[in-house]
Symmetry: C2
Subunit: 155 residues, 2 copies
């Protein structure tokens, strides 16, 4: 006498990891996004590109794609935008004339410093809410997940 409707599989949205990850990502990113959007008119991708350059120093667009798992057209457009707002500077690579080495300008560094410190305190709040051990666990798990994933070229 099983439920006739057992076509309905045992799928449970609330336990579906991609769904939970998405929700958590949206929820946390969304509030911080307001900061860079309102203050500097940045896109999420622009913020990421800036953050990568700020953290790791001058590098090529291709490197940003690889490190940040960001698709190249997204990076291309973000770089263009950051350049026109004077945040970064492109200089032709000498090793490869197809590539350009990107580096933050003084202005870009300043903005990175500001947003970076806001990010730090935002992150601290999150970690405080979670409790620092749990936050650490979460971080480790996310890292592991990334390491296991097929990596791919990402969205």
């Amino acid at each position: 006498m099983a439920n006739m409707n057992d076509v309905t599989n045992d799928f449970d949205l609330e336990q579906f990891l991609p769904y939970l990850l998405n929700q958590a990502a949206e929820a946390t990113s969304h509030s911080f996004e307001k900061e860079y959007r309102d203050r500097y008119g940045f896109t999420r991708t622009q913020w990421r590109v800036l953050a990568n350059l700020g953290k790791f120093g001058a590098m090529t667009a291709r490197d940003i794609c690889a490190i940040g798992h960001i698709e190249k057209t997204k990076v291309s457009r973000a770089v263009a935008a950051l350049e026109t707002t004077g945040m970064l500077h492109r200089s032709p690579s000498e090793r490869d004339r197809r590539a350009e080495v990107l580096s933050l300008t003084e202005k870009g560094l300043g903005v990175f410093a500001e947003l970076g410190s806001m990010a730090v305190s935002f992150d601290r709040q999150l970690r405080d809410m979670l409790g620092s051990d749990q936050a650490g666990q979460l971080q480790a798990l996310l890292r592991r997940l990334m390491a296991l994933s097929p990596s791919s070229s990402q969205s």
Copy 2:
């Protein structure tokens, strides 16, 4: 004699939870997205709306917004699309003439069953890669994070 450049705060992208969450969410969602996009031409939001209706049964758009933390215009458009492809059916609510009760059609239920079982096996793969205790931890942490978040109306 601190580093003159200590405007450079201690921000570390690789430890920034919103960033890690985003990467993990993108990475995991991206591969599953291919399934519903290729097979049914669904948007991520369409898939989520269908999944919520499939899991929780008939409900109003507003409820979907609340449960799934999805913004209402997104839901509105997804519902419209799912209706034109015959996945769901709207009937006017008797309690509130502004609202409409949404329910999956036979076709919608069938599609939900198919995608649901694919989701189950996709999720199982993820959990196998992580190890089931770690997967469980991750799930619990994400839930907790969502519970703590200001919730808001979400993207």
